[in-house]
Every structure is written in structure tokens, then in C-alpha cells.
């Protein structure tokens, strides 16, 4: 709404002069905050703005969205200094909101004294910060009031930062006790985050005692009870090298940072944050914003961090964790872990972002998002920071004077729109930035929501640099129907102080729930209205409302009418909160029972050193395993392959269900090989299980003897010796193995799948069909199976009768290819012709019948089962998933152009993916130049490269003869067999798309007569630019008997696992069922199945 209508004319004009500009204080353009609250208890929320360099403003709400500036009469202009976060908080429990102002920036400490404006209850305020012990002089971004010690008053946590921004990216290490250890700066006065304990109205610094001293560039915090123990914990979002923290309240005045136990990765340049439940599962999720850009041209031009592999590794080595330069949306799994799904949800890139707010903006019962963004100077513009600034400095060095304004105006400046995201109720958000408001570009910082006009929907107030503040009136209520329910949460009528951290839970008529905790301090530099707001959609009556207080008491209200503001007093609470039910899940982790001790170590081979532009490593696919009774005791023994340099292991199953390793000199002798798939089978017809191990790993040169597969003969007692004459000499990088009796002679022939051609990603190495002649194998691929010579990068093969003719077909799955089906007829393998029906959602929702060959994906695993009980086998496939920086769909394939474009003997594979309708290369200009020096001539400046499509990267001449690879489908799912060679693709549900699926087992786990699926995933193989897949290590998909599945969260299935799970070993006998989950770079986990 225009300022002349509301009376709000506040602008945060940031003066730049010699005493203060960006190069003196990096956070200068972090801007100002907004605090909203009713300071005169007239029922209308008032607004307080902080001004970076000017004076703060207080506006009194006159009703009907009219405001009056009362700053002068109230005496709250914030004084001198650089003002940052603001709060309205009733610090003295007199029922009147006081104002709190934080400061930072200037070196002079007197300019950083915080201000506490105590409300005199007559429209005036008095700064009593010193009296209250809150005249802290640290470099503070924002204050967070909360009762950390549960003594009934509000304590306060300050998010602070060091003043020396040259230390933001350095990683200092020293030898400590013979171990290289990262060393933090020890000077933390005024720079570490601070905790002040409220002792009867006097605040005392207890930071050191609480264990909260740090050296991080914090920008926001969120108070939340992460471990559900009723004690508030602290999430701190840290900019730069230092990762975010989750300080768990130890209930004794101290805190411990346990972030890495909860999260798998965080935002690199974490800014504002908010915590709220985005999927109405009763668990609150974390949203932290960064500075990634989604607009394709600016994305390349402003790309924040050009992280190289070595530096990323260094940060991991020094416990700086996995950090990626994009927003993170951490979905709460309820079991003490979170799954980061910003890419899946479509909210990973919102420009240089400041305040994220999660709130139900349209009252439909699902919380939406609003993200402010904008930085006055595009200081991360690559041309500016590499070329323009340098030339200005040379001018100055050469004696030409450059004035500050000329310099600053040489920095590109673009005002971008803030983001509105509408929650579409399926863990995805739609970009409603142009739908919900007619937004101009702006440099927006702090923001807060409140129902300013008391009409039952949330209005927005946004502070802007160099522009008037925005006041958005929400017209949801005016436009119709949706209901709301709002809560004020106070201690008692006598002592009406607000109870931050109180949880309100609504249960609807249909059993759906909504949960929120009350805390007005959200987003960035700001604090919102002092009411907890729920939209309830078309529900006019809420059957059950639970209000749970930090004290451990609760109030339950029933049949609550909506469209009202309820004031609830803790003093009315009588019921104790019941202890949560102890879950009795299907899967129970019995890893600690000692049945199996196995830790996989991966050799440290870095594929990117040979092929810097490939999207992921191909050298860390293990461990693989084989099951078979090797000693004739009737029990299935286990072989687990080793990475290059590490021997495979034979583990014998004992009668008590435990495993004992059996020493095998032959395996140790062959440890230099990297083991891929392995198979126990009777190769030589002597009645015992021999072992075939496929050699692969992609880390050796093409054709290397290290790719020679190995056959080990069993002496019948489980002792293996290598038979070096049984297999044809070969040097193919293999992956999988499948036994099949083709010639009907009773012994098993073999299909051995080939993986990537080493050094030539994504070309495929050869696959082999091996004929078994009494234990001697011959490569007969060319004679009987020419289509199998080089079908692609194969990950797994399956031998099943799909068409019900009594003969089995060969099904292959692999990367950058469609699932392939081959029939065996007349002594030849022939590719069969199949169709698949896929449902498209883009541009319009419709079914489309296409050739199966169109279903190109990154398929890792294939199984068959009759899931819909129609008498034929369906094909179950694991894919790369939908939760990544890169992806694609049917009309927007992820595409690789590959050729030795510069004729230097190295194969250049350049990956592109679609963004806003066009396909752009993944990597940066500099990374391309490193691989292809001629690109330096084409892209002299970064702006020449920004916006270049994959198509235009090369000349028509260069593109002649190049190989094109595509992936059109990234979802895991089922190919439902519809007969006559026709299939219908049905993707798995949401959580099964959060990561890649490496392996799966189809089984009726819950014994309801319907087959379920256990799927495992995650991989740290991607390039730093892409980021780890870490959101789903294991998931149970409960079958519905119609090839449909329900994803069961870990908290209910019991599958509490993290890490990169590669394979499932399913052990079943008459007495018990168990699964072993084999991880890469980690310890195997064992679960019993109920």
C-alpha cells in the first residue's frame, strides 16, 4: 500500500561516506528490521522500524491501516550508530511492550550500545538498557528473548559477528597432539554470540559458562525445542566458513552444539531463518536462506562461491561440514534428523536473501513462504570483482583520483523481486511472486507479518534500503471463505507476560493436524505480531486444540469456533503433558548386538582430477555383496567386496545369526582390484558355490588389467582359490553380474554389465555375455548378443519373464539410458520394442504414450514383482530422485554434449539442465576454461558466458559428431506391466524421491499380504557444484496392492539410518527376518524385521 495512504513513509536510506561504506562494513546493506506489536494496548498492532544509518521510526496504528509517526514524542529514534535488529518485548512484565534495539558496524563501542526502551505506558519510552544490564556493546545482528533456564522470565541471546571480515574464509590449522586441528580465533570480546541470563530483572552475561563462545559470522537464530525435552534450544544461522549451529540446551545452564547429529548439510552463506511446519505432520521444519540466484543469466554472473574440490575437502577435514551456497529447507523427520529438500520443494534459490517467513498467507491451512532479498551492490558480480575493481585500483595507483561515488556506482545494482511461495500441500511450493502481489523490484531486508487491520489474515511489513517500506494488505479474507484461528498465549491474568515457545496443535475433523510454536522473533532482524496465527481453510470448527506450555502443562479445548482471537492463560492449565508413546516400529536397529561388524572404507580416488566437468564420481559405488552357502552348512554366507586396495571379506553365518570372518588369502592377494558385483554359483558343476567377482571402479586407465574379473573356486569347505584360466582376458570396467542358463545345458552362463568407459564419461565400457563350458567361460557377446556389446553404463540386470510366454527376458538398467528389455530367441538376444505411458505435468497435465527408450534416466537398480496382482511381473526401478541441483523432466532433459571438442585427447563432457525453459551448462566459465582453454577466447568476460545455453556453447562445426546423452526421468518408480509390451510408469511417493535409490528389496514386510518395498539411497558422489544426495538413507514403501505405495517416515518404520547406503542384504529364515544395510564409507547397520 502506498505510503501516502498508510502514513508509513519510512525509508531505510543507507548513507555511504568515507566513515562507513561496504568495504568498511560488509553487512552495511543487511538493512533494517521491523518489529510489530501493540504498544498502547488498543488492540491495533503498531510498527517499529530500525534505520541502518538514519533514525528509527515508530508508527502508531490508528486503525483501518492508517498510521501516525510518533517517534519524536515517544523518544525512540534509536540514537546514533548502525542499527540492526529490533524487538518488541515486554521485558518487565507490566503488560506493555518495550522496544529493544541492536547495533553493529562502527568500531567505536559507544556507537554499539544496545537500547532498551521501557514503555512508560503513556506513549513515551525511556532507554533503561544500562539499568537492566543490557547495554552490551557487541557487534549484534539481532536479539532473541527466551526463557532458556525455565525460571519464568525472559533471558536473551544475541547473534553477533566478528568485526574483521577478512577472516570469513580462512581455515587456520595447527598440530595439536600430533593431529592437524582447525584453530579458531580466541579473541571473542564483542564478537561472539552472547547469552544473558535474566536475574530478577538484571541481565548477566553467562555466555562462557553456557559454552556459547564462538567465532562465527552469525546472521540469525531460531529458538526451537529440537529434542522435544521441553527445553528451548537454539539454531544459529552462520554466514561464511563456519557452519550453522544447533545448540542443545543441557538443562543445566549449558549448551552443546549438536548440529551434525541433526543435519546432513547446511547453507554456506546462511542469512535469515525460520522454523515452522511446512507439511502439517506436526513436526516443525527449518528454512534458512542463502544467496543463490535462479534467474539463469544472473546465476552465472553472480555465482557466490567457486568452490574447488580440494577446498571443499579441506573444510570437511577440519569439521566445517558440508556447506552449499543455496537455501536449505530441513524437513523434520521426527527422529532427531532432518532431510534437506529445498531443491525438491523448489525453494533453493531466492537471490541474495535476508528474511524467510513461513506463515499461512492465504489461510488455507498450509503454511506458505515469503522471502525478502536484494543487495544494493552486486559485489559478487564476477566481472566486477575480477576486472572492474582491479582497473579502478590501477587508475588510482597511477595517480588518477577516483571518488567514492564513481567507484560505488561502477558496481552493478539490480533490484529484484521478493518471493512469495504458495504451499501446494505436497512438500512443493509454487512461485506466486507475480500472483499474490504486484511487486516492484526492491532491496528488502527485515520483514514481519501481522494482522494489521484485524480482519483475520496476515499483512506484511517490509523494510527496504533506498525505498519506502512495503505494507502489504492481505485480501484473503475479503476474497472469501477461508477461516482463521488466532491465539494470545499469556502466563496469567495477573501476570500477563507472553509465553514464547508455547506449542499450539490443531486437530481437524479429518484428523489432519497443524502445529506451531509461539515466537514472534522470526526471519531476519525482525519480530512479528504477538499473536499465533492459523489459517484453517474451510474448517469453521476445530474439533480439538491442544496448547502445550514449556512448563509441561497443557490445555485442551474442544469444538473451537474459528475466526476469533483466543487468549489462553497458562494458569488455567491443569493437565500434564503425557509422555510420548514408545514406538514399536517394524524395523528395529540391532547393530549393537554384535551379529555383524563391518565398516566399509572407500579408497580416496578423485574422479574429478581426471575429468573436472563430470557431475559425479563413478569410482565409489561399493560395497557390493553376494549371498550363498559356501560351506554346506545350510546357512547363507556373505561376501562383501572391497574398494581398490582393500580386500573383499567372506563372512560365515553361524547358527546364532552372527557372522564370523573367514580368512581368505586369495582375496587378500587380489585386494588391488575394486570389487563390483559378486555372485556365488556353481561354476564348475562340482556341487559347491564358487565366487565370481566383477572388477571395476573406474579409477584405473581404460583397458587396465585391474578390470579383469575374477573367478574363485570353492573347495567345498568355503576356501577359495583364484582360477586364472577360467575367464577370458578382458579389461572392461564392469558393474553387475547376472546368471542365466541360455544354452539349456544346466550350467549357468553369465551376463556381466559394463560401466563407464574410464576417463570418457559418459561413454560406456563393454558388457559381456559369457558362455559356461564346464567351468570355462567364453565371451560370446558378438556371436549371440551383439546389442549387448555396448548397451550403456549398466548398473543392474534382471532376468524375468515379463510377457508370460515361459521364457525370460533380460532387463538392463543404467545411467543416461532407458531401461532396456531384450528377448532371447533363436539363439540371439534382440532388443524388444516396448511402450510406456507416462503422466506429464508440464506444460499441461496429461498422459503420453512413448517408446520405452524415451525413459532415459539414471537407473541404479531393477527388480520385478507382480505388484498389482494382475498376473504379470512389473518392473521396479531406482533412479536419481528429484532433490538435486540438477534434474530434468520429459520435455526438459538433463543433457550432456560430449566430444573431444578441443582435440587434445581428453573427452569433454559438458552437462546442461533446464532453467526457465532453456538448457544451460552446469559449470562456471572458469571451470570450462580449465578444461577447454579455447573457451577463454569465446568468453573473454563473465558476462559473455552468463546466459549462454548449452546449444550455443559450441559452434555448429564443433558440434559435428558429438555424442549427446540425456536423462528425461529422475523419479524412482514402477513400470506397471500392461501386457503386450506396454508399460505405465508410476513414480514412488514423495520421500522416495528425496534421494537416489541404490538398491531395493520387494517383500511383504508388514505381513499384510501385500508386497512392500525397502529402498536405500544417498550418495556423496556428486561434484561440489551439485552437492551430496543425503536426504533418504532408507525408506519403507508400504504397498497398496495396486502398485502404489505410501512412504513411511523413519520415525514409524524404525529405519533410523544416515549415510550412503548402497546395498540391502535381506536374510530370511523360518524363525526370523533381518536386513543388513551396507554403507559406503561407514559401518553396516543391522535391523531385525518384526
Amino acid at each position: 500500500m502506498p505510503g501516502n495512504s498508510t502514513g508509513i513513509t519510512f525509508r531505510n536510506d543507507v548513507l555511504e561516506d568515507a566513515t562507513m561504506f561496504m568495504y568498511l562494513y560488509e553487512n552495511l546493506y543487511a538493512g533494517g528490521g521491523v518489529a510489530i506489536g501493540d504498544i498502547n494496548n488498543d488492540g491495533l498492532p503498531d510498527i517499529y522500524f530500525s534505520a541502518t544509518r538514519g533514525y528509527n521510526k515508530l508508527y502508531l496504528n490508528l486503525g483501518d491501516l492508517k498510521f501516525r509517526d510518533i517517534t519524536e514524542s515517544a523518544g525512540v529514534n534509536g540514537g546514533e550508530g548502525l542499527k540492526t535488529g529490533v524487538n518488541m518485548v515486554d521485558i518487565n512484565n507490566d503488560g506493555y511492550l518495550d522496544l529493544f534495539v541492536c547495533k553493529s558496524g562502527f568500531k567505536d563501542p559507544s556507537l554499539r550500545k544496545k537500547m532498551l526502551y521501557i514503555n512508560n505506558k503513556n506513549g513515551t519510552f525511556t532507554n533503561r538498557a544500562a539499568e537492566y544490564g543490557l547495554e552490551d556493546k557487541s557487534f549484534t545482528i539481532q536479539a532473541y528473548f527466551f526463557d532458556f533456564d525455565k525460571d519464568g522470565d525472559k533471558d536473551v541471546f544475541f547473534v553477533d559477528h566478528p568485526d574483521d571480515f577478512s577472516k570469513t574464509m580462512t581455515i587456520n590449522a595447527a598440530m595439536i597432539n600430533g593431529k592437524l586441528t582447525r584453530i579458531d580465533d580466541t579473541v571473542t570480546v564483542n564478537t561472539s554470540d552472547r547469552l544473558y541470563e535474566n536475574r530478577n530483572g538484571k541481565f548477566v552475561d553467562v555466555t562462557r559458562k553456557a559454552g556459547l563462545i564462538d567465532f562465527a559470522f552469525g546472521l540469525s537464530a531460531s529458538i526451537h525445542d529440537f529434542n522435544n525435552d521441553g527445553w528451548p534450544d537454539i539454531y544459529v544461522a552462520n554466514d561464511f566458513n563456519k557452519p550453522d549451529c544447533i545448540y542443545i540446551n543441557n538443562r543445566n545452564g549449558t549448551f552443546t552444539n549438536r548440529m551434525t547429529e541433526y543435519l546432513n548439510h547446511v547453507s554456506f552463506s546462511a542469512m535469515g531463518s525460520d522454523i515452522n511446519d511446512i507439511n502439517n505432520d506436526g513436526l516443525e521444519d527449518i528454512f534458512v536462506v542463502d544467496m543463490a540466484v535462479d534467474e539463469p543469466v544472473r546465476q552465472k554472473q553472480l555465482f557466490a562461491v567457486n568452490q574447488n574440490y580440494d577446498k571443499f575437502q579441506l573444510m570437511i577435514d577440519y569439521n566445517l561440514f558440508f556447506q552449499y551456497p543455496r537455501n536449505t529447507l530441513q524437513l523434520n523427520n521426527g527422529n532427531g534428523t532432518f532431510s534437506e529438500i529445498a531443491n525438491y520443494s523448489g525453494v533453493s534459490a531466492t537471490e541474495w536473501s535476508w528474511a524467510p517467513l513461513i506463515a499461512d498467507l492465504d489461510n488455507d491451512g498450509w503454511k506458505d513462504m515469503y522471502v525478502t532479498n536484494g543487495l544494493k551492490r552486486d559485489i559478487t558480480d564476477w566481472d566486477y570483482k575480477v576486472f572492474v575493481l582491479d582497473s579502478i585500483m590501477k587508475q588510482m595507483n597511477s595517480g588518477r583520483s577516483v571518488n567514492l561515488n564513481t567507484w560505488l556506482s561502477s558496481i552493478p545494482s539490480v533490484k529484484t523481486k521478493n518471493y512469495f511461495y504458495h504451499n501446494n500441500a505436497s512438500l512443493k511450493f509454487d512461485n506466486y511472486s507475480d500472483t499474490w502481489a504486484d511487486q516492484p523490484g526492491s532491496l528488502s531486508n527485515g520483514a514481519a507479518y501481522a494482522d494489521l487491520d484485524n480482519d483475520g489474515d496476515l499483512d506484511l511489513v517490509v523494510s527496504n534500503v533506498d525505498d519506502p517500506a512495503f505494507v502489504y494488505r492481505n485480501n484473503s479474507r475479503e476474497m472469501g471463505g477461508a477461516n482463521y484461528l488466532r491465539f494470545k498465549l499469556l502466563r496469567s491474568k495477573v501476570s500477563p507476560d507472553e509465553l514464547y515457545g508455547t506449542i499450539v496443535k490443531l486437530t481437524g475433523a479429518d484428523g489432519t493436524t497443524q502445529v506451531q510454536h509461539y515466537d514472534p522473533q522470526r526471519g531476519f532482524l525482525s519480530s512479528g505480531e504477538h499473536v499465533l496465527h492459523f489459517g484453517t481453510g474451510d474448517q469453521a470448527i476445530i474439533p480439538r486444540v491442544e496448547i502445550i506450555f514449556l512448563s509441561g502443562k497443557k490445555i485442551v479445548l474442544e469444538q473451537v469456533k474459528t475466526n476469533q482471537v483466543l487468549t489462553v492463560y497458562e494458569s488455567d492449565a491443569t493437565q500434564p503433558v503425557a509422555a510420548p508413546l514408545k514406538p514399536d516400529p517394524l524395523f528395529k536397529d540391532i547393530s549393537n548386538e554384535g551379529k555383524l561388524k563391518y565398516v566399509q572404507s572407500e579408497n580416496n580416488y578423485i574422479d574429478f582430477k581426471r575429468e573436472p566437468l563430470i557431475p559425479y564420481k563413478c569410482s565409489r559405488k561399493g560395497p557390493y555383496h553376494a549371498l550363498g552357502d559356501v560351506n554346506g552348512d545350510g546357512r547363507e554366507d556373505l561376501y562383501i567386496g572391497g574398494a581398490a586396495g582393500i580386500a573383499g571379506k567372506l563372512l560365515l553365518l553361524n547358527a546364532d545369526g552372527s557372522f564370523t570372518e573367514k580368512n581368505q588369502p586369495a582375496f587378500i592377494a587380489d585386494k588391488s582390484y575394486e570389487d563390483m558385483a559378486a555372485l556365488f554359483f556353481d561354476a564348475d558343476g562340482d556341487g559347491d558355490k564358487d565366487l565370481y567377482v566383477v572388477s571395476g571402479g573406474a579409477e584405473f586407465d581404460r583397458g587396465s588389467v585391474q578390470y579383469q574379473d575374477r573367478l574363485y573356486r570353492n573347495d567345498g569347505k568355503g576356501n577359495f582359490t583364484r582360477n586364472t584360466n577360467a575367464l577370458p582376458a578382458e579389461g572392461y570396467n564392469g558393474s553387475c553380474i547376472l546368471p542365466l542358463d541360455l544354452d539349456g545345458d544346466g550350467d549357468l552362463d553369465l551376463f556381466v554389465g559394463g560401466h563407464v568407459l574410464p576417463g570418457k564419461f559418459p561413454q560406456a565400457d563393454r558388457s559381456m555375455l559369457l558362455q559356461n563350458n564346464k567351468g570355462e567361460f567364453t565371451d560370446v557377446t558378438a556371436s549371440f548378443a551383439s546389442p549387448l556389446l555396448n548397451p550403456g553404463i549398466i548398473n543392474q540386470a534382471n532376468w524375468s519373464d515379463l510377457d508370460g510366454d515361459g521364457r525370460k527376458e533380460l532387463i538392463l538398467c543404467g545411467e543416461w539410458m532407458a531401461p532396456m528389455i531384450f528377448t532371447w530367441q533363436n539363439g540371439q538376444f534382440t532388443r524388444s520394442s516396448n511402450t510406456v505411458t507416462i503422466s506429464l505435468s508440464n506444460p499441461v497435465k496429461k498422459d503420453s504414450l512413448v517408446d520405452l527408450d524415451e525413459l532415459k534416466g539414471l537407473w541404479y537398480t531393477v527388480r520385478t514383482e507382480d505388484l498389482d496382482k494382475d498376473g504379470d511381473l512389473d518392473i521396479i526401478l531406482g533412479n536419481r530422485g528429484l532433490n538435486s541441483t540438477i534434474g530434468g523432466d520429459f520435455h526438459h532433459p538433463c543433457t550432456i554434449y560430449a566430444k573431444d571438442f578441443d582435440n587434445n585427447g581428453s573427452y569433454d563432457a559438458v552437462l546442461g539442465f533446464y532453467n526457465q525453459g532453456k538448457c544451460y551448462p552446469l559449470f562456471s566459465r572458469d571451470q570450462l576454461i580449465d578444461q577447454m582453454p579455447s573457451m577463454r577466447k569465446k568468453f573473454i568476460r563473465y558476462k559473455d558466458y552468463s546466459g549462454t545455453t548449452l546449444e550455443n556453447l559450441f559452434t555448429p562445426e564443433q558440434k559435428k559428431g558429438m555424442d549427446v546423452y540425456m536423462a528425461r526421468c529422475f523419479e524412482s518408480g514402477v513400470l506397471i506391466n500392461e501386457g503386450h509390451g506396454a508399460f505405465r510408469f508410476k513414480p514412488f511417493p514423495e520421500r522416495a524421491q528425496f534421494s537416489n535409490i541404490n538398491d531395493l528389496v520387494v517383500e511383504d514386510f508388514d505381513q499384510d499380504g501385500i508386497k512392500d518395498i525397502l529402498a536405500v539411497g544417498n550418495t556423496n558422489d556428486p561434484a561440489v557444484m551439485v552437492g551430496n544426495y543425503d536426504a533418504t538413507a532408507a525408506i519403507l514403501l508400504k504397498g497398496d496392492g495396486r502398485a502404489g505405495f505410501i512412504d513411511i517416515p523413519a520415525i514409524r518404520s524404525g529405519l533410523n539410518v544416515r549415510g550412503e547406503v548402497r546395498r540391502i542384504v535381506y536374510l530370511k529364515n523360518s524363525k526370523s527376518r533381518s536386513v543388513i544395510l551396507l554403507k559406503n564409507s561407514g559401518e553396516a547397520r543391522v535391523f531385525s524385521v518384526k
Binding site: F165, T170, S269, D310, T380, K385, M393, K394
Partner: protein, 439 residues
């Protein structure tokens, strides 16, 4: 950031000014060659070539120019047969102006190697347009054509030097061994050009020909040479006076210094070590007012010596992969210690600047004599005032010591590197003069 402060340093001289018309049409042919070198050094700097590659860009155009212009002076032998694999240079068709051919040839070769090709295209157009306006068109055409033919041969020769192929080799894989080189602040960039020893040298029989017999071997023993020389860097770094600081900054010559103030990161570009010495050669030629032929010889041999010096030095760097002072001092002695100038992203032993500068000084001393007092103004745009020397060796030795002041090299390394550089320089002269190479 110390380097960041140079923003505010101001001096009142300009040297690396872009070419003006008066440069272009200078009567003095030597001036034109100098102007071409200004353009080359500037272009290489803005194209951000790292030091070894920058030197590769410098060297080939000088040889093209030399081969065209030398026909005027029988005392200047062809490089063909002297430089590795240089063959089939076209014979002079007779009726040409060698100077025009040389300039054209230089511009084509330079264009093929730089990123900003337009700079040399524009220069050539401007140069030839003026020729067509004022002189015999047929002679000009013949000269241009001959220059182009020489350039084509040289360009074909550049393509056989293994540079392009080396782009496809493994990037440097870090070793975790104690004392092995590790990436350094601020960018922690990966090891630069680990396979530069696969580049075809100009005169060396192989990259290891002048591998120093004396090595600096990592040790944490307090009595070891390594430990002592490391402590020397630490001591010197802690007691730097303004004179030494100025020396360190003067010879910094880092083409890409990263500066980081939070999200405000930027890069400061200086001319590379070889570029700095090309400029010293230029100033020496100007001071002595040498002919264009002599200047061509000075540039060509200087660049050749530095090119081989880089190969020799980089061969040593990645064979020994020695840890940089900042890393080891932070680990063992003082976690907060910082070198005065930024550590470039490659192993310590030997010192690139020392080897390259001393190789070049050897050439300049031989060709221009000793003592040779001169004042170097190259560093004005980079914030350092002019500096005077009595000889080229005085300058090259100072450049070597400056790396110790800067805190990026050990004194022992600097000492050994000086000898390595001189040996390469002497070898280049011997090959040029057709004498037997000697260590």
C-alpha cells in the same frame, strides 16, 4: 587485508598505458616493438593467465618477430635448428620489408595465444591501414604475407608443444604426507600446472636438465636445514621493516591475488614475473636506444630463457611438492602467522621468481652488458614507486630475496633457485651461440 590497502596508494606516473596513435605510428621501429610488448603484457594480464602460461604467451610472438627481422642482420642466426622442434620456417621471398613482416607476424602469433584476440586484430588493422595510406602497396602486401607465413609456421609449432594435451591430464592430487604441499589461503586453489614439465622446452634436452643437485628436504627435526630455514622465514616475517615490505610488494608479480572481506571478494592483477622482466628488458633497450633488431634479440632470448626456466622450476616443484611456509609455520610454530604477500597456489621448491628472474638477468647481462644502471617503473600501476638498480643481477637477486621477505619461500630455496635460473640462462645463450651447453 594488507594487499587490499593498496587501493589507497596513489602515484603520479603511468606506464602501462594502452597504445595511443602516436605509439602506433612511431618512426622508431624499436618503439613499435616495445609498444607491441606493452600490448602483449597488458593483454596477458587482463586475460588472467597464470605465470607459466603467461610466459608461453610471451615467448612465441618474440620468436616470430625475431625470425622476420633478423634477415637485416647477418650476425643474428635463425632459431631454426637451435630451438627444439622449430622447423620449416619459410624463406624470405626477398622483396619484403622485414619490419612490417615482423610486426604482422608478432600480432598473429600473439592473437592465437591470448584470450582477448580483438586487441591484436585491432592493432594489426590500425598498423596495416596506416601502411596502405603511406607506402608502396605491393611491398606492404608481400611483407604482410610473409609475416603471416612465418606466423603460421610458429603457430603450428606452438600446437606441438603439448600445452593443449596437458589440459587433459590429471589435476593435482594432494598428498597427505607430512611436509607435502597443501593449498593455501585465501582461495585454497588446487595445485597450478602440475604437468608443466610435459611442455616442450625451447632449448632444454628435458625438463629435469637443470634440476638442482642441492635439495631442501622436509624435516621437523630442530637441527635440520629445513627447520632452520623455516624459522628464518618466521623470524624475517616477524621483523619486516618498511624497506623489506616495499621490496616484497615490488616483486610480488602475482597475476591473481585474491582479497576477501566477507562476501566482498575481489582479485588484484599484477603482471606475472616474466611480464615484469619483459618490461625491464624493454626499459633497458629504451635506455640504450638499441635498434629494433637488437631489441628483438633481447626480447626473444629473454622470453626463451624464462620459458625454459618455468619448465625447469615447475618440474622441480611437483617432483618435490614441498610445503609452503604459511602452512608449516601455522602448524608447528604460530597458528596466526601470515606471510606479507599472498602465497601462490603451487609447491615451494624451487622459487619460480628466483629461477625465472635470474635466467632472464643472465641473458640481459650478456646482451646489454654490465654494469647496467637502470630504473624500473613497471610497478607504478600496481602501487610501487620506481626502483633503481646497478645491474640486472642486482635486480634478479633482489627479486629472489623478496620472496623470503614476502614469507612465501625459504632462504635456502631462494639461494638454490638463483643458481638454477642462471644455469638455464647460460644454457640458452650457449644454444643460441651454438656453443656446447654446460652446467
Amino acid at each position: 587485508m594488507r594487499n587490499g590497502k593498496s587501493i589507497f596508494v596513489r602515484y603520479s606516473f603511468g606506464l602501462l598505458s594502452l597504445l595511443t596513435c602516436s605509439d602506433l605510428f612511431a618512426q622508431d621501429k624499436a618503439q613499435t616493438l616495445h609498444a607491441l610488448n606493452d600490448l602483449l603484457v597488458n593483454t596477458v594480464m587482463v586475460d588472467l593467465f597464470p605465470p607459466p602460461i603467461a610466459c608461453r604467451v610471451y615467448v612465441y610472438p618474440q620468436i616470430a618477430f625475431y625470425e622476420c627481422i633478423r634477415t637485416e642482420d647477418p650476425s643474428m642466426p635463425s632459431m631454426e635448428g637451435r630451438l627444439n622442434d622449430l622447423k620449416h620456417l619459410p624463406k624470405t621471398p626477398g622483396h619484403v620489408d622485414p619490419f612490417i613482416s615482423a610486426c604482422v607476424s608478432f600480432s598473429y602469433v600473439a592473437q592465437s595465444l591470448v584470450g582477448s584476440e580483438f586487441k591484436f586484430e585491432e592493432w594489426r588493422k590500425s598498423f596495416t591501414d596506416s601502411l596502405f595510406r603511406q607506402s608502396d602497396t605491393s611491398l606492404t602486401r608481400a611483407s604482410m604475407s610473409y609475416g603471416k607465413a612465418v606466423a603460421d609456421t610458429i603457430i603450428a609449432w606452438t600446437k606441438r608443444d603439448n600445452y593443449l594435451k596437458s589440459r587433459g591430464l590429471y589435476r593435482y592430487v594432494l598428498s597427505k604426507a607430512q611436509g607435502a604441499w597443501q593449498p593455501t589461503p585465501l582461495d585454497y586453489a588446487q595445485g597450478l600446472e602440475p604437468h608443466w614439465n610435459t611442455i616442450r622446452p625451447m632449448t632444454l634436452a628435458n625438463a629435469s636438465q637443470f634440476s638442482p643437485q642441492e635439495k631442501l628436504v622436509f624435516s621437523t627435526s630442530k637441527n635440520s636445514l629445513f627447520y632452520k630455514t623455516m624459522m628464518e622465514v618466521y623470524r624475517i616475517g616477524n621483523t619486516l621493516d618498511t624497506v623489506r615490505k616495499a621490496t616484497a610488494l615490488y616483486w610480488d608479480d602475482n597475476p591473481n591475488v585474491a582479497v576477501n572481506i566477507g562476501h566482498l571478494s575481489y582479485f588484484v592483477h599484477k603482471i606475472s614475473p616474466a611480464g615484469h622482466w619483459i618490461m625491464i628488458a624493454k626499459q633497458a633497450c629504451l635506455q640504450k636506444n638499441v635498434s629494433v633488431e637488437k631489441a628483438a634479440q633481447v626480447y626473444a632470448l629473454s622470453a626463451i630463457a624464462m620459458f625454459d626456466a618455468f619448465i625447469s622450476c615447475w618440474d622441480e616443484k611437483y617432483r618435490t611438492s614441498l610445503i609452503r611456509p604459511i602452512t608449516i609455520i601455522n602448524r608447528l610454530i604460530d597458528k596466526n602467522w601470515q606471510p606479507y604477500i599472498q602465497t601462490p597456489p603451487f609447491p615451494e621448491f624451487t622459487s619460480g621468481h628466483s629461477v625465472v628472474s635470474n635466467a632472464c638477468a643472465t641473458i640481459l647481462t650478456d646482451l646489454l652488458g654490465e654494469p647496467f644502471a637502470f630504473t624500473d617503473k613497471t610497478e607504478i600501476p600496481f602501487g610501487s614507486p620506481p626502483r633503481s638498480f646497478h645491474s640486472f643481477y642486482e635486480a634478479s637477486l633482489e627479486s629472489s630475496t623478496s620472496r623470503v621477505y614476502g614469507g612465501i619461500h625459504y632462504p635456502e630455496t631462494a639461494r638454490i633457485s638463483v643458481e638454477q635460473g642462471k644455469a638455464v640462462g647460460r644454457h640458452v645463450l650457449a644454444v643460441y651461440k651454438n656453443a656446447r651447453a654446460s652446467r
